[in-house]
Amino acid sequence: MELLKAIAARDEAALAQLYDRYRVILFGLLMRILNNREEAEDVLQEVFLQVWRKADDFDEERGRPFTWLVTLGRSRGIDRLRTLASRERVAEAGAREAVEEVSDAASDAFKSEQRGLVNKALAQLPDEQKSPLMLAYFDGLTQSEIATRLGAPLGTVKTRMRTGLMNLRELLAGQGESFGF
């Protein structure tokens, strides 16, 4: 939070520090969404330049920096994915690009225990609830598109997504501070 205040005050070092802290998780998220290193790096740049310009939009009463940054990064990633899809340039499904090994320091910053917590919570969700959540979050599909993809009625998909997300919140209850990063 202090970093974002410093960035809003035009502190270049604060932006560098924020980048070092979040680059691994944000780039991992963008790679998962875009499956293309060049596009993911381009969006990552856009995200941090947007943070530089818009840091004063961050409202600490409305959420944590982690939520703000991840929401911003994912939103940019999904926008790019939809643009690429519309140009039919989206990468071949399944042909995941190799990613460089993450340094120890970056791994530390990433805090793998949070990853374990969320994976553990997701593992407790039935597939019928988890699948639509994953398709929405990482593939940027709308409810209608998910219904088509899964061959399920739209109403059923809506119910499963809703139940899945409510269950996820319940399973992660009390872990909120873990995601303060």
């Binding site: 035009r10 270049e12 932006l15 560098a16 980048y19 070092d20 680059r23 998780i25 944000l26 780039f27 991992g28 998220l29 790679m31 998962r32 993911a40 790096e41 990552l44 740049q45 330049l49 530089w52 818009k54 004063d56 939009d57 959420g63 982690f66 939520t67 991840v70 929401t71 990064g73 994912r74 939103s75 999904i78 926008d79 643009t83 990613v99 460089e100 993450v102 970056a106 791994s107 990433f110 949070q114 990853r115 969320v118 994976n119 997701l122 929405a136 979050y137 940027g140 599909l141 709308t142 409810q143 998910i146 809506k158 997504m161 809703r162 997300l165 996820l168 919140r169 992660l172 995601f179």
Partner: protein
Amino acid sequence: MVHEDYKEMILARALSALDAAEERALNEHLENCDECRKELEEWQATVATLAVVADPAEPSPKVREHILSEVRKDLSAPEVIPFRSTSRNVWRSFGSLGAMAAVVLFTALIVGLVVMWRENNANKDRLAQINEFLQVASRPGARVSELRGVDLGSGATATLAYDKTGHAMLLADKLPRAPQGKAYQLWFIVGKNPPMPGKTFSPDDEGNGVLRDQMPKEALESAIFAITLEPQGGVDAPTGPIYLRSFEVN
């Protein structure tokens, strides 16, 4: 739709999984509903935790270099009033060094609009439009962008205001009358992507035009705006000449 209908949509909105029409409708509701806005923020926090499921990955060092290089360019830019300031949240800008620029530009906008009204003082509709425009421009988080006439539109001007939900209003001045069967159409241009179509409008005999539109989400953070002359009813991709455009990315 009623409040409960919108509440049902909030979880899907947190996942960006609503269809475009649903999302626009919900965004309009959120503008006036603190309860739903708060609930959305809470769900966004839950949804954000999914990010950690992705395998961590290391970007190349050139990304950091590029970002910091751009930042240094920004910091070393001369302290003049950048056009971009007009698109920033003018209310938030109060109190900063850039505040005076924002105040001056916003005041100029109001004065310009009043002058425009005086020139057409018989036109009560125009006054109502100006009032409506100022209401949009003064909403929290609203932005204002100026469009200038080019080529065939030389001498014309327009001002576009939009709030953070994408509710937009454009006032144009001194536009040539649209020929029979033609109308002016607004476009949203984001990066190198194809222009996204907005609605169409036809100016009156004085060249005054008004347009209310819902901006695509992709254009809210950074876009160039342009107005072309197109077949009445609009087209999906621009075909006619540009009459007005903004010159800085918002």
